[in-house]
Structures are given as structure tokens and as C-alpha cells.
């Protein structure tokens, strides 16, 4: 396996690194003592202490009962409003139309029309005779 090529540090990167090292700063003894003292005064916060506050069991019972009561109230109100609405019973379509027997003969189906036609022809004949009588023919 060929050796991994190491990218040479460019001029800017080298200068930035050198210049960072030119910043002379150190932690003074006084700061060191201060830090040590404040670290001793602090204790790490445990994971469990940062979890949400556990509520008492009564809280859950109270919220459950409240929820159930609210649900019952909603159901009661909805049903009460439904009773007040005008009742419109649907009429079956079959009852509105006379039943037609599809397996009867064609003559039976046309019989009422034939009767109506006969009645009309009779009326027409009577009207014709009346007109002739009136004009004296």
C-alpha cells in the first residue's frame, strides 16, 4: 500500500499557527486556586435530576377523572341536541310507486291506455254530434 500523502501545511496555515503560539498567556496561581475552589464547591448534576418532575399519583387520577367527565359531558350535549332536531322518517321508495309485475303480458300493461283512448274517442264522437245538431245539419 503506498504511503498516505500528507498535505504540506500552506504558508497561511503555518503563519496562523505560529502567531497563535506568539500569544503568551498562562493561568496564574490565583486563577488556578479560584478554579480549584469553585470546582470543589460544585457537584455534577446527575442525569436523573435533570429529568422532568415526577407528579404525585393523585395528579394523574384527577386528570383522568376530569378527562372522562369532559368526554361524558360532550356525549350528553351531542345526544341532547340530536333529540331536538325535527324527525324526518324516510319513506321507502317502493311504497310511492305502484308495484309493477314485470312478468305480466304486454296487453295487460297497455289495457289502461286502451281504456283511456276509448273514452277519448267516445267524447270526441259526442262532441261532433253536438256540433252538427247546433249548426242544423
Amino acid at each position: 500500500m503506498p504511503p498516505k500523502k500528507v498535505k504540506p501545511m500552506d504558508k497561511l496555515a503555518k503563519q496562523l499557527r505560529d502567531d497563535a503560539e506568539q500569544i503568551n498567556v498562562s493561568v496564574s496561581d490565583e486563577l488556578d486556586h479560584r478554579i480549584a475552589a469553585s470546582l470543589r464547591a460544585v457537584t455534577p448534576v446527575e442525569e436523573s435530576k435533570r429529568t422532568p418532575v415526577v407528579r404525585p399519583p393523585l395528579f394523574w387520577w384527577a386528570s383522568t377523572i376530569t378527562g372522562v367527565a369532559a368526554a361524558l359531558a360532550v356525549i350528553a350535549i351531542v345526544n341532547w341536541q340530536a333529540d331536538e332536531q325535527p324527525v324526518s322518517t324516510p319513506v321507502p321508495l317502493a311504497e310511492l310507486q305502484p308495484p309493477i309485475e314485470l312478468n305480466m303480458e304486454a296487453a295487460k300493461l297497455t289495457a289502461p291506455l286502451q281504456q283511456e283512448l276509448d273514452a277519448l274517442q267516445s267524447d270526441l264522437k259526442k262532441a261532433e254530434e253536438k256540433v252538427r245538431r247546433d249548426i242544423g245539419l
Binding site: 498567556v25 455534577p44 446527575e46
Partner: protein, 183 residues
């Protein structure tokens, strides 16, 4: 000598001494970085102290997938921001923060023929870009670690590192041209 992970475990168990050992090698590096972001050495020291206390207090929240230094820098950057925010009208502007006489960074830089590039960086770049450049070139952090420390995306980090480099390259070239002009 205990490893970093062992010291972290001991610190989690409540050992302040283990934590002090753990952060000993980071303190000066953090202080140097904080000096670039604070208006005085005293402020930088206060932020360092707060950072270490916060880190110890919340050591249980440290995720071992991160480098410990990344986590420390993240806390330090946040604490430095808290200290500075109320005093500044424009938080991103660093240049107005330091006057030359009292600038703690200038006081801690050895006399040199040329301007320290970090002074130029602080003048040319905004806070976050400066921090990204510092973490990359002074701390040798990876782009991923820098984006974690700054709470920025990887692409933001890459783009701003490139911009920061370009700005400093231009500054370097201008300085070189000036010194040539003056012979």
C-alpha cells in the same frame, strides 16, 4: 497515568480532582482563545472559570462521540457570548470592542516586526468566522468538530473557513506589497 476517558468517568462520579486533571491541559488554550473574544484578561479568566464549572456541573451530558475539547470550546463560546452580548450593539462586530492601549490580546503578544495575523483576523472577520479560523488553525480541529463547537452546519463551516482564508490571504499579500514598496 489515567486516560481522558477514565478521568471523565471519575469526574462523573464526583471527583473534582479528576476533573481538574482532565482540564489542566486545556486551560491555557481556552484562555488564549477567550482572550481574543473578551475585552480584558479578567473577563477572559472569568469566562474560563465559568466554562470549567459548567463543564463539571454538566459532565453527565458530555457525549463521548465528541472530542472533549470540542465540547469545552462549545461551552466557552457560549459563555463568552453571554458575557459580551449586553455590552454590544452589534454582537458580530469585534473591532469596536478593543482599544489599542487596553487590548488584552495586544498586551499578550510579543513584539514583532509584522502584525500578528490573529489581530488582523479579529479586525477583518466576524465573531463566528474568527472562531472557526481559530479552531481550525490554532487548535487543528476538523471541520466536523468546528461545526459542532459553533453549532453550525458543516457547509457553513467550510464556506466561512474559505472566506476567512481569502480575507487573510489578501491581507498578507497587501502587507507584503507594502513592505516591498518601502524597500
Amino acid at each position: 497515568m489515567a486516560s481522558e476517558l477514565q478521568l471523565i468517568e471519575a469526574a462523573k462520579a464526583g471527583s473534582a480532582d479528576a476533573f481538574a486533571d482532565l482540564v489542566r491541559s486545556y486551560r491555557e488554550r481556552l484562555l488564549r482563545f477567550l482572550l481574543t473574544r473578551c475585552s480584558s484578561l479578567a473577563d477572559a479568566e472569568d469566562v474560563l472559570q465559568d466554562t470549567l464549572i459548567s463543564a463539571y456541573r454538566y459532565i453527565h451530558s458530555y457525549d463521548p462521540r465528541w472530542r472533549f475539547s470540542t465540547w469545552l470550546y462549545r461551552i466557552a463560546i457560549r459563555n463568552a457570548g453571554k458575557l459580551r452580548a449586553p455590552d454590544l450593539v452589534d454582537v458580530d462586530s469585534v473591532s469596536g470592542l478593543h482599544d489599542e492601549e487596553n487590548d488584552p490580546l495586544l498586551q499578550c503578544i510579543a513584539d514583532s516586526e509584522r502584525e500578528n495575523l490573529w489581530i488582523a483576523a479579529r479586525r477583518l472577520l466576524n465573531d463566528d468566522v474568527f472562531a472557526a479560523m481559530w479552531l481550525r488553525y490554532a487548535e487543528d480541529m476538523s471541520v466536523n468538530d468546528i461545526s459542532t463547537a459553533l453549532d453550525r452546519s458543516v457547509s457553513w463551516t467550510k464556506v466561512n473557513l474559505m472566506r476567512g482564508r481569502r480575507a487573510l490571504d489578501d491581507e498578507l499579500n497587501d502587507a507584503a506589497e507594502e513592505s516591498e514598496a518601502y524597500g
